[in-house]
């Protein structure tokens, strides 16, 4: 029996040695933090997620006067080649801050899988979880009392191998989240009593060397971090009553507007990545009216956000990212709607570095997207580069498999230039 054991152990060692030889430097580079190697103009990001798949035609890629263009009119901007749909005419005034990307596509037309793809840059494999972009941003940031990554909405994409602390703090209802935090803040003296009991009367002190008690230590650490969180500016950020009536009005008193306002306050409090989800974009029926209605919420909140970022000093390092899981068909269906169109995924960026530009083209009627087509991996690589994440870094999963940050992505130079 003993011999069998040692032989097995030996062959195991050879296997491991052989493998590390094979993979060489990949393993050595593993598990380091994404480096700041790339010139990094942005430190924060707010993602406006159009849940359901937004129509490019009625937003950032209108095709007026064509068969595919639909009945809505357009708003011109000061940037050549950049027209917005009438639904976003207010944003047209900010066109010089925009970068509209028109050449991203995928072949994933199912909501859930496409949502995973656009959040992580990878096709979903249940047994190989991938970190969301927000987790990368949180992971690359300094330690903080506030969460690095917050999701306002119901779709949750986890941190995978980047660790639970880089997962999103998930806020369904702002008031509910605030109540929970307030509740714990109010009983912080009780948490001190927990601490006292743990230290003075713990039966585990007898165990001696506490380094053998990982779970005990991590609970203590986590209680500390909860205590810091409830006393941090994050709690105050959730209190929208602190904003004047006029600010609330500028963001629009819609649920989405309140979320964007809360997101702005969180960025001010030190959160690095906030995703604000807006459901309702799956416009198979009555696309035009629906998008108009949605933009009545989207546009004022977005304009107010840009104005406020420019006045609160965060504009120079905050990236605004607008997208959804896919675009919508050029053809208009019998229900006056548009169906899923992953061949073209509209993406809009706003930030100080863009100076107004359009990348890629969908041709005259939105059907021709053959000019320099780019993948979601390329988009992810580009977003990571904008956010100072080393998209070329080798990473290690929790099951010790070497992997990469993107699925073979390449930078989209026209966005980064």
């Amino acid at each position: 029996m003993h011999r069998t054991y040692s032989r097995r152990r030996f062959s195991g060692l050879v296997g491991a040695a052989g493998l590390s030889g094979l993979l060489g430097s990949r393993l050595q580079a593993a598990s380091r933090k994404p480096s700041q190697a790339t010139a990094s103009p942005y430190r924060r990001c707010i993602t406006l997620w159009m849940q359901g798949g937004p129509s490019q035609f009625e937003t950032f890629d209108p095709k007026p006067g064509t068969e595919t263009g639909g009945p809505l009119s357009v708003a011109s901007t000061s940037v050549p080649g950049m027209q917005f749909s009438e639904t976003l005419s207010g944003l047209a005034n900010h066109a010089s801050d925009f970068c509209v990307i028109r050449n991203i596509g995928s072949n994933q037309g199912e909501h859930e899988r496409a949502t995973h793809l656009l959040h992580t840059g990878f096709e979903e494999i249940a047994s190989f979880p991938r970190p969301a972009l927000g987790s990368f941003v949180s992971h690359g940031g300094p330690e903080s009392t506030v969460p690095g990554f917050v999701t306002l909405g119901s779709q949750v994409h986890g941190p995978a191998f980047l660790g639970a602390e880089n997962g999103p703090f998930v806020i369904g209802e702002i008031e509910q989240a605030k109540m929970t935090i307030d509740k714990v803040a109010k009983i912080s003296s009780r948490l001190d009593l927990v601490d006292l009991i743990n230290r003075r009367y713990s039966p585990f002190e007898a165990l001696g060397d506490l380094s053998a008690h990982g779970p005990l230590q991590s609970r203590t650490k986590q209680i500390e971090s909860v205590k810091r969180l409830v006393g941090s500016p994050f709690a105050t950020a959730l209190d929208l009553e602190k904003e004047g009536e006029s600010t609330l009005g500028r963001y629009g008193k819609s649920p989405f507007g309140r979320r964007v306002l809360a997101a702005r306050r969180m960025l001010e409090a030190g959160v690095r990545y906030v995703e604000v989800q807006m459901p309702g974009w799956d416009t198979h029926v009555g696309n035009f009216n629906s998008v108009k209605q949605l933009c009545l919420q989207l546009e004022p909140a977005w304009c107010a956000l840009m104005e406020d970022l420019k006045s609160n000093g965060l504009w120079e390092d905050t990236l605004i990212l607008w997208m959804g899981e896919f675009g919508r068909t050029p053809g208009i269906n019998g229900g006056n709607g548009r169906d899923h169109y992953p061949q073209n995924i509209p993406v809009a960026l706003a930030g100080h570095s863009f100076g107004g530009r359009v990348v890629g083209s969908t041709g005259k009627d939105g059907r021709d997207h053959r000019e320099d087509p780019r993948s979601v991996s390329d988009l992810m690589f580009t977003l990571m580069s904008l956010l100072g994440i080393d998209a070329t870094a080798e990473l290690t999963t929790e099951f010790d498999s070497p992997t990469t940050a993107t699925d073979g992505g390449r930078p989209i130079d026209e966005v980064l230039a």
């Binding site: 999701t151 927990v194 713990s202 001696g208 060397d209 380094s211 779970p215 498999s401």
Partner: protein
């Protein structure tokens, strides 16, 4: 499941036929064994490794442990007093195993093993859980349970076991291998397994068992049924066996439950639920690379299961009444961290076990006399307390979970209502013991509401010694 002729379960006409085809597997195992010699096996390994086992724990510690493990909550003050009067462990364990609380609590754990805690639209978690609870109540042999889960057909809301595959429809092979064979095939999905013997070809050959599987959205949830498998390119089980009929998935289910890895994987899971850590750790990573810490015990449990008709409650009882289960978590003498780790790996010293959120929720309800909540609500709260971003879809290991700070925040914000009227009762209701003289002196001036909160969230409460 009684093999092969005495089966009375309606597993279909095919089943006895299959059983006959595999008749050479049926008598595997060692018929001479009588009973499971947990302690003898462990003590031999202590000697081999020169490890001194810890003393037995105090009887209230045992009661707290076994009530948490079997009923999913801390004992009540009345139960503590009763066990003080009649300190017979076997009576206590039998009572707990016969209780509805056991069936419900273990069905919740197994539901999370099978489909994870995360709630999805497609999976009818509650239909699955109810079916498992019924199986535990009737003490259905566990190989029968597994067979039904792997081979189930029908609509998710009407036929509970269908939800195992509905909940793992993205990747059924990996889930079946992890849960029922304790093998991680995940790596082999994309390349040959780096450390183990599984190849990508093995994965693909296993995956073909599910090729005829058809998931369809119908009113009432998801329906699964199989087209007959085609005769060319038949699938291949990890042992090399191939199906002999067109009913591939049933054959896979059969090959699985008759295989040795199945019995080992189930034994290891039960051990993990009771000890917090498996003989093989991680629990779904039984492979040549992850050797069991005590291989002889690992095999002995597998043999026990095969000989007892996969009597899961019988195995739980054997383990709960072993000396190993009753060992103290205090080392017999001061130990360095590595020595302590070694002693715990061999189960010579118990490892304090972090309570599962389901155990916390049940305990709080019991202590504060709150009205009971449904298993569905309890799962939702458990997800909140772990943190939504740390809870995944699909089969998982619910015992060794990672939680987020937001999850802890939610736990700490939970409400407590009634408070016992005196210090002794307060301590007994929460920590299952009376306060020490030192605690009496140091804490009796505290506001009881605050003290109750602190006792419910302190390490001694949250970790089972």
């Amino acid at each position: 499941m009684s093999f092969p002729m005495t089966t009375s379960k309606p597993v279909g006409l095919l089943f006895p036929l299959l059983a006959m085809l595999f008749v050479d597997f049926v008598n595997a195992g060692d018929p001479k064994r009588s009973g499971l010699q947990i302690d003898r096996t462990l003590e031999a390994s202590f000697e081999d490794n020169d490890v001194e086992p810890a003393n037995p724990c105090e009887s209230w510690v045992f009661q707290r442990r076994v009530t948490l493990d079997l009923a999913g909550r801390v004992p009540t003050v009345e139960e503590l007093n009763r066990f003080k009067r009649i300190p017979v462990k076997e009576v206590l364990v039998d009572e707990l195993l016969a209780s509805d609380e056991f069936n419900e609590y273990w069905s919740e754990i197994w539901t999370s093993i099978l489909v994870g805690r995360r709630v999805t639209e497609a999976t009818d978690r509650e239909a699955l859980r109810q079916w498992i609870e019924d199986a535990f109540r009737a003490n259905v042999p566990f190989d029968q349970v597994a067979f039904d889960l792997i081979s189930a057909e029908g609509v998710s809301s009407l036929n509970g076991p269908v939800n195992f595959l509905v909940g793992n429809q993205e990747d059924p092979v990996t889930s079946v291998s992890r849960v029922f064979l304790g093998v991680q095939l995940d790596c082999a999905r994309c390349h040959d397994h780096p450390y183990d013997r599984w190849t990508q070809d093995d994965f693909e050959s296993m995956q073909r068992f599910f090729e005829p599987l058809d998931f369809r959205e119908v009113s009432g949830g998801f329906q699964i049924e199989d087209e007959p498998g085609s005769s060319d390119d038949t699938p291949r089980f990890l042992t090399g066996a191939r199906p002999k009929t067109m009913a591939w998935r049933r054959e896979l289910a059969f090959m699985t439950v008759r295989s040795k890895p199945f019995a080992r994987a189930i034994g290891n899971r039960v051990w993990q639920i009771l000890f917090g850590v498996g003989l093989v750790d991680p629990v779904d990573g039984l492979s040549q690379n992850d050797r069991p810490s005590v291989p002889e015990l690992h095999n002995a449990m597998a043999n026990y299961l095969r000989e007892s008709n996969f009597d899961l409650k019988g195995l739980v009882k054997e383990i709960a009444l072993s000396n190993a289960y009753s060992r103290s978590s205090d080392p017999p003498e001061p130990m360095t961290a590595p020595a302590l780790r070694m002693a715990r790996r061999l189960f010579a010293v118990r490892q304090p076990k972090l309570l599962l959120p389901e155990q916390l929720i049940r305990s709080y309800a019991s202590i504060t006399n709150a009205s009971p909540v449904s298993p569905t609500q309890r799962n939702e709260t458990a997800v909140d307390w772990i943190g939504r971003s740390a809870v995944r879809v699909g089969s998982s290991d619910p015992i060794s979970f990672t939680r987020t700070s937001q999850g802890l925040l939610n736990e700490l914000a939970s409400r407590d209502r009634s408070v016992p009227e005196n210090l002794d009762r307060l301590f007994e209701a929460t920590l299952s013991r009376k306060p020490t003289t030192e605690e009496r002196r140091g804490l009796s001036d505290e506001n009881f509401q605050n003290l109750m909160y602190a006792l419910l969230h302190c390490n001694e409460f949250v970790f089972c010694r």
